[in-house]
Every structure is written in structure tokens, then in C-alpha cells.
């Protein structure tokens, strides 16, 4: 299995602080994706980083990928209360995506 595993399981920060979440996976990947899930909602795709990329930015999001360590990180800068959600990484080999169990992020005003 190339399941993604997020770390930490839960993260609590203040508004304005940065939030960093990590993901590890087990086998070679085609790409790695990050999703957000607000309470009671479906997942929303945030960003996709390909195996030949090392870093990618999208607004306040920064994703890094280290294929030698089979790990990725998601950085959310200047967090807002609206960023409160669960964040999942999903590893894509040459088949379907495999999701991790997620990091619950709580951003307090």
C-alpha cells in the first residue's frame, strides 16, 4: 500500500500563525495531492505536486515533496479561522489515490 500518513493528527494554532502538516507514503508515486475537508462536507482538492517537482505554491499554500524520503509537507501561512478543517494527503501511484487519515487543524481567533 502507498497510503499517506499525516502528522500531526491534530494541530491547534492562533490566527496569523503558520501551520505545517506532514505526510509520508510508502511506495513510488506519480503525484501527491492535498485535500481539505470542512466538518460535515466533502473533500476539496487544494494542490497537486508531481513526482518531478520539489515545491509548489498556491496562494497561502506551500507544498514540498521529497521523493527520497517519501514525504511531503503542507504549509499554510498566515492562518485564518476559516482554515479550520481536516487536511488529507493522497498518494497517487499508477493506480487510484490512497488517502491518509488526516490532520485536524484548529485555528483560533
Amino acid at each position: 500500500s502507498q497510503q499517506g500518513e499525516e502528522d500531526p493528527q491534530a494541530l491547534s494554532i492562533q490566527e496569523g500563525e503558520n501551520a505545517t502538516m506532514n505526510c509520508s507514503y510508502k511506495t513510488s508515486i506519480n503525484n501527491l495531492q492535498w485535500y481539505r475537508q470542512n466538518s460535515g462536507r466533502g473533500l476539496v482538492h487544494l494542490i497537486l505536486i508531481r513526482s518531478n517537482e520539489r515545491e509548489k505554491h498556491s496562494g497561502r499554500l506551500r507544498v514540498t515533496l521529497d521523493t527520497s524520503k517519501k514525504s511531503s509537507s503542507l504549509l499554510i501561512t498566515a492562518s485564518r479561522a476559516a482554515d479550520t478543517a481536516s487536511y488529507f494527503c493522497a498518494a497517487s501511484g499508477y493506480s487510484t489515490l490512497t488517502f491518509g487519515k488526516g490532520t485536524m487543524l484548529l485555528v483560533s481567533p
Binding site: 506519480n30 503525484n31 495531492q33 460535515g40 462536507r41 466533502g42 473533500l43 476539496v44 482538492h45 497537486l48 488529507f88 493522497a90 497517487s92 501511484g93 499508477y94 493506480s95 487510484t96 489515490l97 490512497t98 488517502f99 491518509g100 487519515k101 488526516g102
Partner: protein, 112 residues
């Protein structure tokens, strides 16, 4: 309305009953997926479909049946519901099996 929809949003049923969860997408995406989400397990793939009349098992297919006669619909049937199938079920669609997936709002199923 464009997008991906699921129905019903909430369902309570009894052990042994047959239940069908519906999923409909308007993007003409080739791929569709069914996941279940349980505390402590994250999202687990039940079945997926690469095109009409092509389906394949995921990580946890036992107790579930799928069909895909039309590109836009991908129903999931629990032939004889069990308490262990109490979960939140998500349908998703994509242009491929490795691109970004678009998720529906979910169906919360309770089996008594």
C-alpha cells in the same frame, strides 16, 4: 446544476435491508469512485469505475455492489446492510485515476 451530487444525504436503515446510494456528476468525467469515511480509518476506496460498464474493486469492496450503465451515474448498493456499514459515504469523479478528484457532499448512513 453542474457538479456532483449524492442522494440521499441521510439514511437510516435496518440490518439485512438493501440500500442504494446514488451519485450523479455533470462533468462527463470518465472515472468515478466510492469511498467510506470512518473515524480512525480516514477514507477507504470501496469501488471505482473507469468508464461506463467498467468497474473495479477498491480496498474494502465486500458487501457492496456497483454498476455504471451511464457515464454520469454510479450507484452503490448494500445488498444486505450490516451495522459495520454504518459510515459516511463519499462519491467522487475525475478525468483519470490519478488526477484531482471532485467529491460529492456525502451520505451519512446508519444501519440499526
Amino acid at each position: 446544476d453542474a457538479g456532483i451530487t449524492q442522494s440521499p444525504r441521510y439514511k437510516i436503515t435496518e440490518t439485512g435491508r438493501q440500500v442504494t446510494l446514488m451519485c450523479h456528476q455533470t462533468w462527463s468525467h470518465s472515472y468515478m469512485f466510492w469511498y467510506r469515511q470512518d473515524l480512525g480509518h480516514g477514507l477507504r476506496l470501496i469501488y471505482y469505475s473507469a468508464a461506463a460498464d467498467i468497474t473495479d474493486k477498491g480496498e474494502v469492496p465486500d458487501g457492496y455492489v456497483v454498476s455504471r450503465s451511464k457515464t454520469e451515474n454510479f450507484p452503490l448498493t448494500l445488498e444486505s446492510a450490516t451495522r459495520s456499514q454504518t459510515s459516511v459515504y463519499f462519491c467522487a469523479s475525475s478525468i483519470s485515476d490519478y488526477n484531482e478528484q471532485f467529491f460529492g457532499p456525502g451520505t451519512r448512513l446508519t444501519v440499526l
